[in-house]
Symmetry: C2
Subunit: 201 residues, 2 copies
């Protein structure tokens, strides 16, 4: 009867992760509390630090799940529009991104609101997971701009994502004043469609 330690450890890890996922989705990253998580899963406060380095480590794993869900959504959009013209594919991707942000506002915001403490770096394994944000942009982009070097292609894909993210992010934020979703959608169409049109010419 061996391996019971590891099993309990994994269960605790997973319980804490699920609790954090739900709390972030419900209340946002800013209201995540170590004591609430411990209460949720019925463990002592200190137990959290046996299975995660700290709260930031736990948040990284929540964000990892969010990125996977977002990646799946973008993959679906890319597949559905694979027969469309490159410009329309790019617009469809941006709309899918907007849809995800609207459907999962707190989890999505946590991806960008979270900051590593002090001098700590985001670990490599999590950095690489961000590729899902750019990867589907690359294919229609290279059709549109065949002369782009691989480096410039990656850079441009990243830039396009950044532009879309800016429009979605500031549009949904109540910072200035919230913009109706349809207006954000139109703006994405105008911006990305316009870019594609001029790039193709």
């Amino acid at each position: 009867m061996t391996g019971k330690r590891e099993a309990k450890r994994q269960k605790l890890r997973d319980d804490l992760l699920q609790s954090a996922v739900q709390r972030i989705a419900a209340d946002g990253l800013g209201k995540l509390r170590a004591r609430d998580l411990a209460t949720d899963v019925g463990c002592a406060l200190g137990a959290l630090y046996n299975v995660f380095a700290d709260i930031d480590d736990l948040v990284l794993h929540v964000n990892s799940l969010t990125l996977q869900a977002l990646g799946a959504k973008l993959s679906r959009a890319a597949q559905d529009g694979a027969v469309a013209r490159p410009a329309d594919q790019l617009v469809a991707l941006s709309h899918a991104y907007l849809d995800f942000a609207i459907a999962n506002p707190n989890s999505w915001a946590a991806l960008f609101d979270h900051q590593m403490p002090e001098g700590a770096q985001v670990p490599e394994w999590h950095l690489n997971e961000h590729a899902v944000l750019f990867i589907h942009i690359l294919e229609p982009l290279t059709v549109l701009m065949p002369n782009l070097s691989p480096e410039d292609g990656a850079m441009t894909a990243r830039g396009l994502f950044s532009a879309v993210h800016g429009v979605v992010s500031l549009g949904l934020q109540h910072r200035f004043s919230a913009v109706p979703a349809d207006n954000i959608r139109s703006m994405l169409t105008l911006l990305i469609g316009g870019f594609a049109k001029s790039a193709a010419a």
Copy 2:
């Protein structure tokens, strides 16, 4: 010999504001501490709360100064390029925005990193100050797209700013990996120039 109270009050307000400006510029919003500010200006910890509602109120006033400086920079860029074609004016504005962000990374980041506590709303006077972000975009945009209604024009100007902000923000962030400034500049030229080109057609 009257008015000494108000004079001291104003001096304390201004000293705290200047201290906060410098600390945010030097260390970033995340490391701003009420106790550090009190030490800087040589007042008691509680004195801060006589002249500002709380730390967030103080940060709002710091951001107000930053927005004024940014507005001045954008105004200069708009005036310098007033004779250029609308597309080039828009690109010049985006480059000026990038330059400001690079020159004042922490103060600029504080504009967007700061979040009001709990249910508190950003006060009207500060909301209105954000107009400087969009105002200079509107003129070249209406030349470029004369058929835009005032509402759609404002919305599109805001969207363009959001896109530029996204490119600059994610580009400068060390989140994924920092992008060289010249690449960000090229991306802005490509994006905004492309948008303008297709809008004019």
